[in-house]
Each structure stands twice: as C-alpha cells, then as structure tokens.
Symmetry: D2
Subunit: 433 residues, 4 copies
C-alpha cells in the first residue's frame, strides 16, 4: 500500500483510528448483550457507550502501552479503561483478543468489498457505454497475434463486460465468505461468554455468526477472499494487455488518453505510451501474489497460531487498496479510451481478403471437396499472400482446382465483410439482456 497506488476511501478503512473505532464498537455491543443477559451491570454497558462513543482513541498512547505488554488488544483495553473508568473491568468479559481482531477484520474486509463492488459497477458502466458505442465498429479478430477473422470492437468490450460481471458475482461470494463474527472465547467453546452475545454483535455489525470457530475465524474464508481478488486482478490484466496491444505503433487501433502537459519519455519527445495499462499489468501481479500467503495461512496450528497476523496486516490493506486503485484506473482508461476505427479498417484490409479463408474452405466442402483437400487448396493460395504479397481473391479465382468446385460469383460472395457481424445483436442481447 503506497500512496502512489492508493485512494483515500479504501485507505481509511485500514487506519488505526478506524480499527480502534471498530474494536470499541465490538466491545460496546458485546457489553450491551452481556448487560441484557445479566452478566454485567446495565449501568456499566451504558457507561462504556457514554464515555467511548465520541472518544478519540490516542494511537500513540496505545502504542506506548503495547511496547510494554507486547499485545495490541490489551494495550487498547488499557487505554479504554483510562477513558471509561472503573466500569472498564466489565469490558471484554469472557472474550479473547481474536474475537475483537477477527470480527474487526471481517468488518474491514466487508467494507472494502463494498467499495470494490462499487468500483466494478463503475467499470461495468464504462464498458457498457463504450461497447454500445462500438457495437458495429468492425475490427480484425486475432488469434496468436495473427489476423483471424473480423469481429467488432463492441464485442471485445462486451466480452470484458461479461468477464467483470462474473468478477462481480465472485466478489459477492467472497464478501459473504468473510463477513462473519466470532465472539466465542479463548478456544471457541463459549466457556465464558454466551453464544447470544455473538449473535447480537454480529447483527449490529451486519455480519453473520461464525457457526463454529476456534480462537479465530477459520482462515479458509480469507484464503478464498484473497484468491478471488487475485482472479479479479487477472481479469484486469487481460483487459489492460488488450489495450497495450491495440496501442502498439504498428497497430494503433486505440490509445490511452494523453493529457495536455503529459510527457511520454524524458529522452524522446515523440512518445505516447500506454503507461496506465502497463501499470495495471504490474499491479495485477501483486494482487495475484497475495493469494498465496493467504492460502498458506489456512493451516494454523490447533485452535490457532498467530502466523497469519503479519500476513494479513500486509495483504489486508495492500490487496484491497491496490485492487481498488486498479479498478478505478481501468475505468478511467476505458472511459477516455481514444478509438481509431479508420486504423482498424486499414489493418483489417492489410492482407487483402486473407481473413475470408475459412468461408472459402467451407464453400469447397459444401461443394463436395473433402475437408483435407479443401484445406490444401485454400492454404496454398493463402501462403502466396503471406509470402509474395499476392491478392487472395485473385489467386483463388485463378486457381483451377478451386474454380472446378466454385464459381466466380460464389467466391466473390465469400469476401463480404458484413457476413461476420450478423450475430452481433444476439451476442449483445446475451450479455446486456
């Protein structure tokens, strides 16, 4: 999480102030529930809220206490006692630190998910707008980086739309995975705390009670969460890579917006580089990498060890902040993407007609030529185009074996570009409904 790749709303979730505020709420709600159950005096619960509701927790003071106790939650509770007074002894009754820490993490990750979901929604809106705009903008489809057959630029964007719709669904699942509350005591047995406290706090915080916990919420939930972020990052990389390709000098079918005053290179004033999408490619590598330590975190020892903690202190903020930044950056790129339909057309026509090879192949098979012979006939003419710059249509018309099967009219008809876009509406209705 470095400022360059961070946005304030997501960063705020991970500040000490936010963390201590959530900790307080967990303790205070738990006190309410305990007071209701008669475990602690109702006055005590009221006092905790009264003193703590608007308190500013002193991060430096808490750090100072932690230096002695070497325990962050105890440091917070000690500071809270300084604020609340004698009734503070009723705080945290029967709870263990992880009840606070893990439930707080659940709140933070749920909030982070909400921001990420909004990010994806914004990206989807941009993708949809541009997809509709370019629904019929014909461009060459490429497999292996080699011209294949025509498609439209709108279909490319519709594909991305469908992909991020899936990412959204995954994130909804991932959010459900981690939005649980555990207040179950030292080893998860509720020995010193009533299960109803957990249910009450969960409800207040918008979480579900963890059905069975140890000292901690099981880490398979978090592994699934961060793995999901890694998959979403990979989809960002895919779309970013597409744009980088389209901006290549020789292709130049689309280009990132280049603002007035922007400079592309310290040495070469002529440069306009796809730096945003390249940056997204690198950020995706990072978010993806975080999936692994999250998975290694699952196998905690017995009822818990604390090896997961340092990992989560890093990847909790780093993965969510980076992904938030990346989604927003990608949305901006799509929103302002400069598209060059003329270049698309020019590229498409570069190997005059070669992209229609399949249609000729199929026409030959329909005319009774075997698949293998048809392939050979078409391939030998196509290779002349690659190697000698010949015109594909003319070569075919001049090929006796081809002409034995197909008339000139039939061959010419196979070179109709419109043929390839007949099903665009079908595809769009599948994607956008």
């Amino acid at each position: 999480m470095i400022p360059r790749y961070s946005r304030p709303e997501m960063t705020a979730i991970w500040s000490p102030e936010t963390r201590f505020r959530i900790w307080f709420e967990i303790e205070a709600y738990a006190a309410d529930a305990m007071a209701e159950l008669g475990t602690i005096p109702k006055d005590a619960a009221a006092k905790i809220w009264e003193k703590g509701r608007d308190a500013v927790f002193d991060v430096d003071r808490i750090d100072e206490i932690e230096r002695e106790t070497k325990h962050d939650v105890i440091a917070f509770l000690t500071h809270l006692a300084e604020i609340v007074g004698p009734e503070a002894r009723f705080v945290h009754q029967g709870m263990t630190s992880s009840d606070v820490l893990d439930t707080c993490l659940a709140v933070q990750l749920a909030r982070a998910s909400d921001i990420l979901l909004a990010d994806i929604d914004a990206l989807l809106a941009a993708l949809k707008r541009r997809a509709l705009e370019h629904k019929d903008t014909v461009t060459i489809g490429r497999s292996h980086g080699i011209h294949a057959e025509p498609t439209t630029f709108g279909i490319k964007l519709a594909l991305a739309y469908a992909e991020f719709t899936r990412c959204r669904e995954r994130l909804v699942h991932a959010r459900e995975e981690i939005a649980t509350c555990a207040i179950s005591g030292a080893v998860g047995t509720f020995a010193n705390i009533d299960p109803r406290v957990e249910e009450y706090v969960a409800d207040k915080l918008g979480l579900k009670p963890e059905p069975v916990s140890t000292q901690v919420i099981p880490r398979d939930r978090h592994a699934m969460f961060f793995a999901t972020l890694g998959v979403i990052a990979s989809s960002i990389e895919r779309l970013a890579t597409e744009i980088r390709h389209l901006q290549r000098t020789e292709v130049l079918e689309a280009e990132e917006y280049f603002s007035p005053g922007q400079k592309g290179s310290s040495a070469m004033p002529h440069k306009r580089n796809p730096v945003l999408t390249e940056n997204l490619t690198g950020l995706a590598r990072m978010v993806r990498a975080f999936a692994l330590p999250a998975m290694e975190n699952v196998a905690l020892w017995h009822e818990r060890d604390i090896s997961h903690s340092s990992v989560e202190r890093m990847i909790g903020p780093d993965a969510t902040v980076t992904l938030d930044f990346a989604l927003a950056r990608l949305t901006g790129v799509i929103d302002k993407l400069v598209v060059y339909p003329k270049n698309m057309e020019a590229n498409l026509n570069r190997f005059r007609g070669l992209v229609h090879s399949q249609r000729v192949l199929l026409a030959l098979t329909q005319a009774g030529v075997s698949r293998e012979d048809s392939y050979r006939l078409v391939q030998r003419n196509a290779m002349k185009v690659w190697e000698q710059g010949a015109d594909f249509l003319e070569e075919l018309l001049a090929d006796k074996d081809v002409r034995a099967a197909l008339s000139e009219d039939v061959i010419r008809e196979k070179f109709d570009l419109g043929y390839h876009t007949r099903h665009v509406d079908t595809i769009f209705s599948r994607v956008f409904g």
Copy 2:
C-alpha cells in the same frame, strides 16, 4: 499426476481415449444441430453417429498425423474422416479447434468436479461420524501450541466438518464457473455457425452456453476453478497438520492407523509416523501452486493465444487427480484415526489447573478488581506454575490479594472442567443442524 498419487476413476477422465470420445460427441451433436438447421445434410449427421458411435479412436494414428500437421484437432478430424468417409467433410463446419478443445475441457472439469464433490461428501460423512463419537471427549485447546482452555475432540472435528462444507459450496460454484460450452467459431462471432448449434450441444453435454466467447472460453473461469482447488487443498493441509501435531510423541492424543506389516523406518524399528498426513501436507502445496499459472493464463492476447494450453494439459489432470487422491486419503485417515482420550486427559492435567486462569480473572473483575490488577494477580501465580511446577489452585488460595476479593469456595468453583463444555450442543446444532 504420478501413479503413486492417482486414483483410476479420476485418471480416466484425462486419458486420450476419453478426450477423443468427448471430441467426437461435440462434433456429432454439432452436426445434428446443423442438420436440423439445414446447414448440412441430415444423412451426413446420421452417418457421423453411425460410424463414430462405437468407433475406437486410434491414438497412435492420431499422433502420427499430428506429427505432420502439428495440430491436434486437425489430426483427430483427419482420423475421423478415415472412419466416417466422405460425409466427414460436414464435420466441424464453421467451428474452430477451440470450440472442441474448450468444450471438452469443460466436460472433463465438470466430471472431475463431480468426483471431487463425492470425495468431499465421503470426507464429511467420516468427519461427522467421528465428531459425534467424540462430542464430549474433553481435550485441551491450544493457541500458539500452548495450552489454552479445554474443548472437546468432537468440536475439533465439527470445525473441520464446517470447513469442508464450505469447501463443498465453493466447489459447486467452481463447477458452475467452468461448465460452459462455446461453439462460436474462429473469433467468437458465430460467423460461420449458428448460435443455436452452441445451445444444442451445451444442452446435450450438460453445460451452459458461454454468453460471449472469443476463440476460446474466457480463462478467468478456469483461474477461479483452480484457485478454488488451491483453497480446498489448504483446508486439507490444515486438518492434516492438526493430526500430525496430535501424533507427536509428547502429545500422542491421536494416531494414524498403523497396519500390520507396516514399517515406520528402515533404521529404527520403533517408529510409527504420521506419514499419510505429512504426505497430504506436501500434496496440498502442489495443488495450491497450480492456482498461479491458472491465474497467469487469464491474460491471453486478443481473441486468444495458446499459452494456456500447455499449462492446462499439466494442471488439468495434476490438480484434479492430486486433490481427488488427497481427499480420499484424508477420509481414510479420519475414518481409521486412533484416538487416545486418556492421553488427552493426561495432557490436559499436566499443568494442574492452569487452564482455569481466565475464570479466576473474570471472577476478580466481577468482584470489583480492575481488569489490569486482576490480570497481574492471576499472572503472578500462573508463572509460578510454569517456572516452579507449583499447583495453581494452591497458589491462588495462598495469595492474600486474591483472597481479599474471592472466597475459597468461589475459587475452587472456577476449577470445574464441566463448565467448558456447556455449549457443545449449541455448537453441534449450528454445524450439523
């Protein structure tokens, strides 16, 4: 995928014979649909089925053709033409290799998922049986590998049950992710094939049509699938690690079944080692590692490149076969696990009464002592137990400050073991319903 860690049912999914059989079905069903739409003659579709339905595809012959064409699907189609005869030219009309390859992979991964789901069901059944058996078997809960407070062995297993229930749900999602069919032609535009062919084949194969594809089914689906397997593997590692810990010589609360004739060490005849769960730990590392190349596969170039193919040829079989083996092995371990309740009891009592420290702490706070003072009072007596082997109860009774707040009866009451298991039924009803 090595024989040592493979089971035949899963392995069979990945044999060339199975693959070619699925390829045939895709082509033949597509031919049916095309015949229905009038694109090819109905007789041709019938002939394809007639000749191919019971054909044995000659793997060596296909390999031989591939050595020349350097293209596996073309090699298969050429071989199929040898079987079907002239009507073979109506096979694969308007389709691209990936239509066959990706739809086949979807069928294979869906079948693999079904086996894995059955594996998890078997594991869940074993876990439930043993959990109920040991619902009230008291054992020490440990955090950081250090005695914390009592729990039951049944709760440990219930936790694993809940975890694998989540894994099952994730796998159901993952199966949905990859069970799609794409028959959309060279760049996904349906230029030379009607979208209804895709719908028909999808239906016949138990798949859903891919809403929008390029030349390939988008790889974010596969990334999510293999990431999910990695998370499941991590849960296997967690439970395996728990058992390895329990079998440690000094702990010995449970032990893998050691069969007659088994030998633990070539050098030391006294050894009985948790080799199955150690093995599971290693296998989990492998399945987890496969998630990464799957995520790197997402960013294919434009309408596809073929870099994902070699990865999937490896991790398709390796991840599913290894996970199938691991789940089955873990089920066997749980099923036959030798549990030593007496050792659990002996371990629990090792530091006479120390595990009740929290209850004394809470009693002190309830009696009006501040949280910080209470902690200090209990900690100073507890440390005498660690360091001098003192008896915790006696130390507390002899501590004037403690006694100023708590009577002997109250203190003694805090050493009741039964207190810790009051909520076991609640937990079990949450997990098992």
Copy 3:
C-alpha cells in the same frame, strides 16, 4: 511431466530403474567403505557388488513389497536381499532411508543439471550465430510497444545471449547447491555409521559431503535449485514473448519456421501462428510455479518430516523435464527463425523520422534552449506526425522557434540512421568477448 513436453534423456533420469540403480550404488559403495573400516566383512561388500552390479531390479516386485511395508526403501532392501542373499544383512548398516533417498536425488538433480547446462550451451550457440548474422540488421527499438529509436536485431539477440549466459552461471551455482551426499544416519549424528563412509560415497558419486545434516539434506538447497529453474524459465518466456511480438501480423519482422504440411488452424487455412513460443510461455509458467512448493518444503519439522517427498516426486521430474524440453524448443526456434529485414525497415520508416526526436531535442539544448522548452518544441511537432500523419522533418524545418536555434543542415543531420549503430561493435565485444 507429460510425453508431449518431454525428451527421453531427461525422462530416463527419473525412471524407477535409474532410481533403483543409484540406490544400489549408494548402498554398495557404503558397504565398501564399511568393509574398509572393519564394520562389516569384506566378503559381504564384495558379494553385494557381485550380485547386484548387473542385477535387474524388479520394479513390480518392489511395488508389491511396498504395498505391505508402506515404505519404499525397505521394499527395495527386501528385494535386494532376495538377490544378494544372507550377506544382505550387512547392507544399509547404520544408515537411514533418507541417506539413500536424498543422496539419490542429489545424483539425479546433478545429472539433470548437466543436461540443462548442455541445453543452455546449445541455445547460446544458436543465439550467437544469429546475433552475428544480424549484427547490423537495423530495426526499430520499442519501449512500451511504441517506436522509440533504432537498434539492430543482432543487439536483441546479443541481449538474449548475455541473459542466458547469466542463466548458465546461476545453474552452475544451483548444481553445486544440490550436489551433496548425506550418509549420517537416523538424525544426522553418525551414531551408527562412521563419517568416513559418507566421504567415500560422496567421492564415488561426484558429490560433496553434506557438512551437517539432520535425517535429511537441508531443503534450502533444493529451494534454491528450483527457484533458479524458475528464473531461467522466466528468461525463456521473455525471449519467447519477443518472438511472438515480432510475428504479429502488423509487425511481421520475424516468424517461427512453418514446416511443409503444417496447419495453423482447423478453421482458417491462412494461419501461421507462433505456436512454439506461445507454448514456451505456458511452460515457463509451470516451471516458475514449482519454485513455490520447493520453498515451502524448507521448513520441515525438527530433524525432518516427509511432507517434502510428494512435492519432490512431482517437481523433480516435472521441472527438469519441462525446462529441458523448453530450452531445446527455444533453441530450435532461434535456429530456424525466419527474419524479415525488409519488414523491419518498413516498420522503422512508418512514422517518417519521428524516431529522431531525441537528437533534435539534444541539439536544441546544446544550442542554448532550456531542456523544458526544447522538449515542448519537439513534442508539438511530433504530435502532428501521430495525429495528422505529417512528416516530422518538414514540420521541424517549418517551425520558426526550432529554426531560430538550429539551421536546416543541422536538423537534417539529425535524421541519419547510421548514427544509432555506431556502438554495436562495443556492445558485441562486451557480450561475446
């Protein structure tokens, strides 16, 4: 390790036959040393060699024994006893299974390294040959996929040569890391075996004695080995990616050799795709992924656990076989790469003169214009080239502010292509000596 991506010489290293042969040699050499030290009878050592030297170890029989003992080394020793007779009881005296297993793995990885080193040598030879061939073949250098300034195709290959020279050195180090022998008994104390046995066997097998082992050779060595293979794979990916880019339809500066009879697509007969280098990209992902479980293997418990074993049974063969295949494939690609200097020239000239922007910038600063102003002057003319297809030289000559600082002659001089290749010889002498 699947046949499609395997070569026989490397595969043979990992066959059961090879493994059992190495196991025998370890045991037999150890027996020699023990006989020399008087621990076992000299006759026994002689008999072991006599019976075992040319024996064919029966893999099925060993598997059968292992099914009962569940221990592979014991199974082998039992089978060896069937071959050697009563003297077999002097085999494996004071040794532990890992002495055999780990030393065998060291031999296998050392042999695998030798093949890989030869692979790299072949690749280096191909790179050098093609680099010298194209030392002066001018081509556009690209940063961000955008035209930057001219370079030569030979420099591109010289860079790859330098990179694989580094890879070679890393592999030499990695080989040293894993070429150690441990025969130190159950927990590495040499309790029942003299350290001189280890030294003797190490010497016979071309290994170094492990200075201190536990039951096993420490796995940090193997982690370093597989991490190194991952780095080498990443360099393969880099060069493969370069070629994929060069073969793009719009670029087409180089192309993989396309053999007679080869087919690029089942649907589109016109296709020639960079399938070999795309394949290498995928294989690189796999080899890289194997580095992680190798690193996770380091933290074995105490004097060893066996979690590393399943990982190594997989990645030992998979990483070395795949990397061997990839290096050989890359060598073939480089060797037969079809290079198109005319296309390089055409691409270079596509934006008439734009690539000389830096030289004009520098000339302006040398003429007294500030860096910031110079940049602005050049950039504003360059953008006209991008956006309006203007001629860069003409625009500059027509720009009053530019002309105020630079004469026409000076400007024209900056458009000399030869200027960029003045230091090619320096670079080549640095790389090739």
Copy 4:
C-alpha cells in the same frame, strides 16, 4: 512495508529523499564524464555539483510537477533545473529515464544487501555462540515429530548456522546480480551517449557496467535477487518453526524470552506464547510471495515496458525491509532463547529406551540374523512400549529370540546414551572449522 515490521536503516534506503539524492549523483557523475569527453561544458558539470551537492530536493514540489507531466524523472529534472539554473540543460544529455531509475534501484538494492549481509552475520554470531554453549546438551532427535534417536541441541543450532552460511553466500551472489549500472540511452544502443559515461558512473557508484541493456537493466537479475530473498525467508521459517515446536506445552525444551510486563493473552493470564517465531513464519510467507511477481517481471515487451515498475515500487521496499526485520528478530530470539536441558532429558527418557531400537537391530544383524527378521524382533518389542507402556530394555531381555542372538551384556551396552554423541566434534569442526 509497515512500521510494525520495519527498521529505520533499511527504511531510509527507500525514502524519496534517498532516491532523489541518488538520482542527482547519477546525473552529476554522468555530467562529469560527459564534460571530460567534451560533450558538455566543464563549467556546466561543475555548476551541477555546486548547486546540487547540498541541495534539499523538495519532494512536494516534485510531486506537483509530476501531476502535470505524469513522469517522475522529468518532474525531478524540472525541479533540478530550478535549482541548477540554465546549465541544467546539460543534465541527462542522451540519457533515458531508466538509466537513472535502474541504476538508482541497483544502488538501493546493493545497499539493502549490505544491511542484510550484516543481519546474517549477527545471526550467525548468535547461532555460533548458542551452538557452542549447547554442543553437548543431549536432546531427542525427531523425525515426523516422533522420537527418533538422540542428538544435541548444539547440533540443531550448528545446522542452522550452516544453513545461514549458505544463505549468506546466496545473498552475496544475489548482490552481484543486481549491482550493475546502465547508462545506455533510449534503447541501449548508446546512440546519444558514450559508453565511457556508463563506465565512469558505474565506478563511482560501486557498480559494474551492464554489458548489454535495452532501455532497462534486464529483469532476470532482479528475479534472481528476489527469489534468493524468498529462499532466505524460507530458512528463517524453518528455524522459527523449530522453536515454535520446542516451546509447545508438552515439549517445552526451549522458550522465547518473556519480558517483565509482557502479556500473553487478553483472556488467559497464564499464557506465554512463541509469538516472535510465529510472526517470523508469517513474514516468511510474504517475502516468499514477492519472488513470483519478480519472476513475472522478466518478460518485458521488446526493449521494455513499464509493468515491472509498480511491482518493484512495492517489493523493493517490502521484501528488503521485511527480511531485515525478520533476520534481526530471529537473531534476538536466538540470543535470548531460554533453553531447558532438564526437559530435554525428561522428554528423551519418556519412552524408556525406545530410541535405542536401531542399535539392537544392528547388533542382531551383526550376530547373523537377517535384516528382515531382526527388524521384526525389535519392532514387536517396541510396539509393546508404545501400546502398553512397557520398558523396552526389559522386554528385549525377556524375548527368547532376541536372547538367542544377543547376550544381556551386549543388549545393555546398546542403551548407552553417550554412544550417540561421539561424532559431535567432527560435525562442529565441519561447520565451524
């Protein structure tokens, strides 16, 4: 890089102030070399040093300029021009941003390496001191977590010493890998800059000239560097895991130092947990994870793309700062580790004599019993110890078949603990010389 896991010396390397200072030095040294070669006026080079040597670069101002130019090096150069005046136009002549960025990163990583090397030296010193202290402290060796045969605690530490000695060597190699300087211009051809400038700057900064670069220093170097850090982290994890095991309640052979005032748990005042080594386990996961994006960074497009940059902005600081912190923490743990030889002895004797099973096995084979029969005889007595708590020595003495081969005296002699430590001096002289 979060404050909790950071130390100031390493963190300072990555501050903007340090970065801009190094950038300045690169530019200023390059100016010196250019002045010497006559490319720019000597006065200009002198002025650059005069104005910049003690300048404080204004980070906020640079950020402000970057917001417009969207280019960090140009922003710095613009700010430098504000400081230096008109002569600033001679700064950066013929150089490209990456010349500055990559050479700076080399300086930073080399400095970071020097700190890490010092960290390892401190760790080695602590390990050696404690190893010598406990050279003869007998403890049980464990394989699979199960008692195997005796070793000494000193040997355990000597093993760690040997392992970190290897880590040190690897780090020396890794430092060499990244300590190179590239000042080769826009695409590495030295078109606008003399190669002697690169040589001069390299020498001044303690680097070696990069033999051949593109626009950037090849990223295989950095991949190797970060992979090496990942391996070192894995060794940290191994030693940390060992200590965590030793501190388990049932084992308690060693314990992290627990300071006065420290609290182990918010709920349970009796707890003393191995939190430092658990923390190290988590940190190791992070450093290891960073190896992957570093490897993915290798395959930059053509002469460079900028996808590596965001990755390195994160892992450059994160990996080095975290590893520095982890090494220092581990050194502290080793230094103050509380060792319990009495508990080691008690654990060793827990299964009275069982650990001598191999010696009895060997004695039987030496007495003429076959290996298989010997194994069976010993195993059947050993199992009575595990299962019925029998005394191993007594069982053996009472076993007729054993006694048929071995006399009572011989059997009793095999139970000598001193036998296992005969070679400790040999091992120590191998490790410590």
